[in-house]
Each structure stands twice: as C-alpha cells, then as structure tokens.
Symmetry: C2
Subunit: 150 residues, 2 copies
DNA sequence: TTCGTATACTTGCGTGAGCAAGCAGCAAAT
DNA sequence: ATTTGCTGCTTGCTCACGCAAGTATACGAA
C-alpha cells in the first residue's frame, strides 16, 4: 500500500526539517533562525535592495520577507530607508551589528553545510545538484493537473 | 562570497516548498493539505495507533500531530477513541469519509510524485535516495557543535 | 489632468513546526 | 496506599509560510 514514506515530497520535508533544526540549534547563541540568516546573508551580499528583490533572491514570498525583516529590524540588524525614486519601496541595508552577526553566523553555516555533505564525493554532489534542478523544474511545470488529466 | 544559494539546507527548503505547494494546489479540491494527507495516509495504513506512534511514523513532533488531528477531526475524517488499556492515550481511526478521501487523494499524490521524478532513471533515483540517507544521518549525528569545537 | 492599471508593501487568516510547561494517568518502589 | 518518576497528550509562545485583500504610489493612456 502507498505510504507517505514513498513520496519524494514527504521525504524532502523530513530531511529539510532535520537539517534546518540542526542549523537552528547551531545558531541559537546568535539569536538568529536559519531563515533569518538566509535573509541577512542576502542583504549583506548586495546592500540597498528593495524587498521584492530580496524575496526573489531568497525564494520567499513578499509577506514572508516583510515579516522576517520586521524581526531583523527589531533586533537592530537592518535599516529600512525609503527609496526616493519610488516612494512605495524601501531599500534595505544591514547595520554594523547586522554585518558582524552575518559574518559570524556565516562561518557557522558554512561549517554546518560541510558537515551535512562531508561524505559526498564531488561527483555525488554534482548528481545531487542535478537531481534538485530536475525536481525543481518538474515542480514548476504546469499541467500536473489537479486531477486526472492524462 | 558565501550565499544562501550555496547551502544545501537552503536549497532543500526551496525545493521542498515548491514540491509541497504544487501538491497543495493539486489537493485543493479535497480540502486536504500535504501534511494532512500524510497523516491520513498513515492512519489508514494502520488503524488504531495512538498519537505517539503516528508522530513517529510521520516524523512530526507530538504537538504538531495533536493539532493536525484536531483539524482532521473537525473535518470528520478521523475518530479518537480512548484506549481502555491506557487512559492517557487515544486510538485513532479513520471514518468512512476519511478512508474514502484518503483513497482519492492518494491517487493524486502518486500522480504528483511520479511527475516530480518523471525524468529520473532508476539509478538516479537510487542515488538520490542514498544521498538523502547520508544527509539525514549527518544531520542526526552529534558533535556538529554549536560553535568552534574542533 | 485624470483615469485606470500595475506594482511595492502590509495585514489578516489559517496551517505547520519547535520548544517548554502543564496535566493526567501509569507503574514501580517503599 | 503513598510517593516518585515516567509517559501520552495538550497548550502557549514564537517563527515561517501561502493566499487573498487592502493601501499607497507609480506610470501610461485618454
């Protein structure tokens, strides 16, 4: 009989939560979640983006980015300056503290990432990346159809 | 410079959300989320489990299972009968409607799953499964260390 | 100019998740 | 029988997410 364990989507969820929880534990001392880290990292990589661009780069939707930025702002890690050229938009910059925390936590993340794939050969990594690209493309394709459509 | 896109954990999150959202769209007509489906599927596979066992099998924590079961109960898909041998526990059974919905949605899920991996050879699938097992094992290992511990 | 559409962001609602604390019932030791 | 500790479940808090609706601004067309 068909079981959730047979489903790629289910397996992805399980593994994602395990990897993410482990990273969360490693970041605990910095009061930063994995998702917050990814946004901070993005913001430091290219300063002065608006929220839409951050959403695209982190592959999150805009409401999620808004809320994560609220948290980061509350923690004093970012600044929102309104865009004089487009008064609907904010340009996002890290604070000094934000830059510092991002640097420190990026070391943690890199270490964590290496640990997750430490027993992979370069070929295995390339095959995994290729598999990810294929699944992503399949998920984005239309025509999967909510019901029987063969 | 290091970017979130370079991180396996980040990539897992992106791909998981895409696959999951696609399935959610396909299940919309059945008023069932992917996570709810996985629990229903588990419940129908082995009826009369207690919540702890469901949590183990679906790899979720107990509070999460409690809340998903609340939703499923509200929708009339499951029954909670208290265990006469252990009055702390509930034994969980699908209702007739629950069994029916699970059967129908399992067809959708299987179809969705095939679509996600349709261009994979059996060898590629085996390599992917192997990669998942390795990452999972790495994530579960202790000693990753919240900080510098080499 | 003004009208209409598109866009950047926010807010509200519901779901799922982790963690910690609480409650009730079990079970073993005294 | 009482105590002590463990276990099954629930609740509260916070975060992340998707979707839909709302607000303010931008911009092109009339």
């Amino acid at each position: 009989m068909y079981q959730p364990q047979d489903s790629i989507g289910f397996q992805l969820g399980v593994i994602y939560r395990k990897v993410s929880n482990r990273l969360a534990a490693n970041l605990k001392d910095y009061d930063l979640t994995p998702e917050q880290w990814s946004v901070m990292c993005c913001i430091c990589f290219k300063e002065g983006m608006n929220q839409k661009e951050i959403a695209e780069r982190t592959v999150k939707d805009q409401p999620t980015v808004t809320r994560i930025l609220n948290v980061l702002h509350r923690k004093g890690l970012i600044m929102r300056s309104s865009d004089r050229a487009d008064r609907r938009a904010y340009l996002i910059y890290p604070t000094e503290k934000g830059r510092q925390v991002t640097e420190e936590t990026s070391v943690i993340e890199r270490h964590h990432n290496s640990a997750m794939i430490e027993d992979f050969t370069p070929e295995q990594l390339e095959l995994l990346a290729e598999a990810f690209r294929k699944i992503e493309r399949n998920a984005e394709r239309y025509g999967d159809g909510p019901a029987i459509e063969s």
